[in-house]
């Protein structure tokens, strides 16, 4: 979704739990989405992406689900570890329209805290 002011959603989990982070998008024509992880003091880091011809994509301990009907993305992290603590953003290169993939529009982000 749009960033309209920063009261970031927070998710606090215990080490070993599974985490689910959600994101809504606005442009029904968007066909590609990306999840980024941002640790304190660092730039965002690519985690996983998904194209709209897929409903699900799996990586190492991460899965992204895409529901085009309700324009919703989720990032699932399995067996969450303290090193997963960070802010997680979804990004849509086509949120503002057009077909280019260069200009990322980021969601507001979710703060994930993993307790040992």
């Amino acid at each position: 979704g749009e960033s309209v002011g920063l009261h970031l959603p927070t998710l606090s989990v215990q080490e070993g739990d599974n985490s689910i982070i959600n994101c809504a998008y606005s442009n029904s024509a968007s066909d590609y989405f990306i999840w980024y992880k941002q640790e304190s003091g660092k730039g965002p880091q690519f985690i996983i992406d998904i194209r709209s011809n897929m409903d699900k994509r799996q990586g190492q301990r991460v899965t992204v689900l895409l529901n085009k009907t309700v324009k919703h993305l989720s990032l699932q992290i399995a067996a969450t570890q303290p090193g997963d603590s960070a802010v997680y953003f979804c990004a849509d290169p086509q949120a503002a329209g057009g077909t280019s993939y260069g200009k990322l529009t980021f969601g507001q982000g979710t703060i994930l805290t993993v307790h040992p």
Partner: protein
Amino acid sequence: GAGVSQSPSNKVTEKGKDVELRCDPISGHTALYWYRQSLGQGLEFLIYFQGNSAPDKSGLPSDRFSAERTGGSVSTLTIQRTQQEDSAVYLCASSLASSGGIYEQYFGPGTRLTVT
């Protein structure tokens, strides 16, 4: 190999002064992007350069902001007559290309700008 580097890492300036922020992209990356991350607005796109094409400046918030990319490599973001609302972390990213294809954007650590 070396990632995207930005300098300075921190910059404190007085209101009304001009500042220049530098980005060194990953060697061989033809696309370069600037984003801004602030508490009030989240992570927002500013401008991107793709090869020799005219840059997409659609995210620049005012005419006080400008950027250039010399020799298809290093980029400088200039903010003239800085205002307190310009305080933010300025992030640079680079990728192999952006037009017509999907390429991962690699982010630098950012420059934290504080306008007093």
